[in-house]
Structures are given as C-alpha cells and as structure tokens.
C-alpha cells in the first residue's frame, strides 16, 4: 500500500459510471433478451463490482500483489463451491438440453 492519493475527479467519474450502470441494468431488465437477461445483469454487476474494487478500494493503483492474490483466491474458491456443486445438480435430474 503506497500513499498514492487519487484525484477526486477520478472518484466522481467512477461514481457517475456506477450510477449509469445501475440505471442501465434496471432498464434492460424490462427488455426481453431471452436467456441473456441474466447474462447482461451479471456482466453489468461484475463491471460495477470491478469499478468499486479497483478504484474505490485502491486495488488498481495502490495495492501489492498479495492483496490481488487474496481477492482472486477467494473468488476462485467461491467458484469451486458453485461449480463443483453444479456437477451434482446439473446431472442429477435426467434432463437434457
């Protein structure tokens, strides 16, 4: 963690982006995109989360590798939990696509 101070313009910029994305995701939900509604919603959410983590939480500029590793590892573990469980649920019911 260095004492790098980010400009307040940057923070306002991120804030505006987050607001816009919020409105967009709420609006898009009303348009019928078939199965892509979920995808779009999650992509937008991930984009917003990245903005918060990278800029508000200073991961992009001021953090060392170790912190990034902690984040990546936790997300990876979460995916392990979800995906390996799906290995059961996805095949338990004799369902075909």
């Amino acid at each position: 963690m260095s004492e790098h101070v980010l400009s307040s313009k940057m923070y306002y910029g991120i804030w505006i982006a987050l607001m816009i994305l919020t409105v967009v995701t709420a609006r898009v939900a009303f348009i019928d995109l078939g199965p892509f509604n979920t995808v779009v919603a999650l992509v937008i959410a991930t984009g917003k989360a990245l903005l918060v983590v990278l800029f508000f939480m200073h991961v992009k500029y001021a953090s060392e590798k170790l912190v990034k590793m902690v984040i990546v590892a936790s997300i990876f573990w979460l995916l392990l939990l979800l995906l390996l469980s799906l290995a059961d649920y996805g095949t338990r019911y004799a369902r075909h696509g």
Binding site: M1, D32, F56, S63, L81
Partner: protein
C-alpha cells in the same frame, strides 16, 4: 484491525511488536483483505443455495422478484453507491489531512447508510403486509393470482422469499455493523485523530464498507431483476 483502531488517542501509534509503521499498516491491510475473503465465502453459501433453487424453481423466483419494489431497490442501490463515493472521498480527505472534510464525508456516509437501512425496512414492512415473510403466515396466493401466466407452487415461492430474507437480512446486518464502525470513526475524526500520518482505521473501515456495497451490487440483480420482461 481491531488492534490498529484501538491505539491510544494521539497520533500515529506504533504497537510494540511491529518494527515500522509501514509494517503495521501492511499487516492491517492484509488482515482486512483476508477477512473480506472469508466474507465472500460466507455469502457464498447462500449464493449456492440461491443458484440451485433458481435453476430448479425459476418460475417462482421470477414471480417473487417481480413482487419486489424495483424503484426502492434501484434507489437503494444508488444510495449505497453514493455512500461508497463519500467513503472513498473520506479516505482521500484523511490522506490529505483535510480533517473537516473528513468529518463531513463520514457524516454523509452514515446518513446514506441509515437511509439504506430505512428503505430496506420499508420494503420488508411491505413484505410483511403481503404475508411474504416465511414462517409468518406465509401466503403466495396474491402472486398466483397476479401472474396467472406462470405456474407457481407456493412452497417453492417460499424458498425464494427465504433466500431473499436471508440474503438481504445478512447484508443489512453487515450494514448495521458498518454504521457502528463509522460512528466510531466519526467520533475519533471529530477529535482529530486521523491525518496523513495515521489513517489506517479510516482506510480499513472504507474497505469493509465498499465490500458490503459490492455484495449489494450482486444482490440487486439477483433478487430484483430475475425476470422483469413483459409477460407474453
């Protein structure tokens, strides 16, 4: 984290067992991030339950999601984002030694935090009125009537609301803890304790706050936006 925030009132305090201030700050930051890592897994258990049941009972999840107030949900998302901004600016103010600004920003954060909880309370109360709280004379009859196009099994509907309350409830609990934390930080900022040499507690509190915001960023689409498209 508990340690660095509890140091004596004056100035940058180096605890006995650290050799440099940098070491102490790095330790606090790593500790906080690890804690946030555990939080991801904590919410992760509920995300798994959510994922499974959403796949199994999509209709009921869609109907439940429609019954939530998207206006309040969106406004609350915006409120939280604003609070994240004030927190980020607050950390910056502390870094730059602008003590007055810091106090104002912390105050704003608290107001946003409380506003979020208030709106959440309004939403919950609405659910209470609609008998949508599991375990409290739960009744999905209104949804079955409102959405005749999709078939709804009331038992499965209850699972949606169980997860809704579990997830938003635990998120709100985190918000309450955050509000407590920020009240503490506000108190000490008013005493002028934080400045460019020592702002670790502000920074750590900020990380926590942003994290809770990120959780909400996911909860919002997952709970409110499951299926809003016009029914055919």
């Amino acid at each position: 984290m508990a340690d660095s925030t509890a140091t004596p009132v004056h100035g940058p305090e180096l605890l006995h067992h650290f050799s440099t201030a940098q070491q102490q700050r790095d330790a606090a930051s790593l500790g906080m991030w690890l804690f946030l890592g555990t939080e991801i897994m904590f919410f992760g258990g509920m995300f798994l339950a959510y994922l499974i049941y959403r796949l199994l009972y999509f209709n009921e999840f869609a109907a439940g999601s429609r019954s939530l107030d998207i206006w309040l949900g969106t406004i609350n998302t915006i409120v939280l984002i604003c609070s994240s901004l004030t927190v980020a600016l607050g950390v910056r103010a502390a870094q730059m030694g602008k003590r007055k600004l810091l106090v104002i920003l912390l105050l704003l954060t608290l107001i946003f935090g409380l506003a979020f909880l208030g709106i959440k309370g309004v939403e919950w109360y609405a659910k209470y009125k609609e008998h949508h709280i599991p375990g409290m004379s739960f009744d999905a009859g209104d949804l079955i009537r409102d959405y005749p196009q999709i078939h709804i099994d009331p038992a499965h509907e209850q699972i949606y609301f169980s997860l809704y309350f579990a997830m938003t409830g635990l998120h709100a609990l985190h918000m309450i803890i955050g509000v407590g934390m920020f009240t503490y930080l506000l108190y000490h900022s008013m005493k002028g304790r934080y400045g460019p040499e020592y702002y670790t507690p502000i920074e750590m509190g900020g990380l926590y706050w942003h994290f809770v915001d990120v959780v909400w960023i996911y909860l919002f689409p997952l709970l409110y936006l499951i299926d809003r498209k016009p029914l055919g």
